[in-house]
Symmetry: C2
Subunit: 210 residues, 2 copies
DNA sequence: GTCTATACGCGGATAGAC
DNA sequence: GTCTATCCGCGTATAGAC
């Protein structure tokens, strides 16, 4: 079976399968052989659809960012839009935490990331923010969202109580963070988002309306 | 020369050299062979000092976090301490951006990270913050600092103006972000830090003093 | 405590048959 | 458009000499 009657591969299938492997086993686990095995195909066949492995990764990254809903920016006042978008942005990142370092690294070469930056920056400038502020607000938001999706804070603390005994006087209950993972991580995100947007609203009164 | 007159390797040298390779070429570039070559030694010699490569990485991570000055927490009011520490924390992360994903992943198993968590959490609780708030404030700060150190916002946008032509109406000047890298990234960090700490101060008035 | 030698698998990518 | 065959280097880790 050299050439099948109909193609068995296409970019969409390759992207979806690559994403699944990265999500389940990490970025380092994605190899052309591993990807091909999952697709019931031999590794060289992938090169009919992508020139290099790096192109596959770019396509995976673009598909993730393309899912972020940007429609709030034309519709809602900027503080509401910033909050709504932040939630959508975090959801997209957090669904693929192993891709976050890659996504952050070179967004400028992926169309979906540029559309996102254009929407955020444009909405802030249209609302009256000076360009320098609009840029830094966008950067601040990405820092916070990427950091929150990069890895759970709560899960960073082992559930074994013996690890904290004696040496860390205030961490007596740290082993219980595991149980409250969602409460801690989601709560911290909301807390930070409130503070950031609240701070920007105060600043807006001084810088733009003042 | 089987056994040298005096040991040529020690943990300290291995840690420093591994850190240099990771900083210069990325986490993936660190292999036992590459590390040994840099140390003018053969790869198996490393196993006299570390049992596995993972142990080397843990030691590198611990050394980075151990450099974060925590003395502000016994000394300054909590909002000042939070700001002072955030700068030190960011400096440590940003000096080794390629290590950030690793550092975030399992802090609980490295002593320096536990000392850091103990100091932050302890200072907030001692100041009167309820435990749940202290935890989430610590998590929020790590999100923001890790995100800001993970990758430059400004450098994510290619310096080639042609890339933005036509398709992105508000990104006409995005190619100039490169030139203003420090201004953008440092400015965004300060902007976010102001907003976060300011928000916590307001919240403190309601939750603790109110 | 460092060396040499070695085991054994995985990595990305290409050439050419069908 | 997928296959088989192949290149060639790198990966961690162990055994045993000195």
């Amino acid at each position: 079976m050299a050439r099948p009657a109909r193609p068995v591969l296409n970019r969409q299938r390759i992207i979806e399968t690559a994403t699944a492997i990265i999500d389940a086993e990490g970025l380092a686990a994605l190899s052309t052989r591993r990807l091909a095995r999952e697709l019931r195909v031999q590794a060289p066949s992938l090169y009919n659809h992508f020139a290099t492995k790096e192109e596959i990764l770019d396509a995976v990254g673009d598909a993730i960012i393309a899912q972020v809903d940007l429609s709030t920016f034309g519709r809602d006042p900027w503080p509401v839009a910033l909050r709504t978008w932040a939630h959508a942005y975090r959801a997209a990142f957090a669904a693929h935490p192993n891709m976050v370092p890659f996504l952050v690294h070179a967004p400028g070469r992926r169309p979906a990331a540029l559309r996102l930056a254009d929407a955020v920056y444009g909405a802030l400038v249209d609302a009256g923010w000076p360009p320098g502020y609009a840029t830094r607000i966008g950067a601040t938001m990405r820092y916070f969202v990427a950091g929150s999706a990069l890895g759970s804070f709560a899960l960073g603390f082992p559930a074994d109580p013996a690890l904290y005994d004696g040496h860390y006087p205030h961490l007596g209950d740290a082993h219980r963070l595991h149980e409250h993972r969602a409460q801690v991580d989601d709560g911290a995100f909301e807390l930070g988002l409130d503070a950031l947007v609240g701070g920007f609203v105060t600043l807006y009164a001084e810088v733009v309306a003042g």
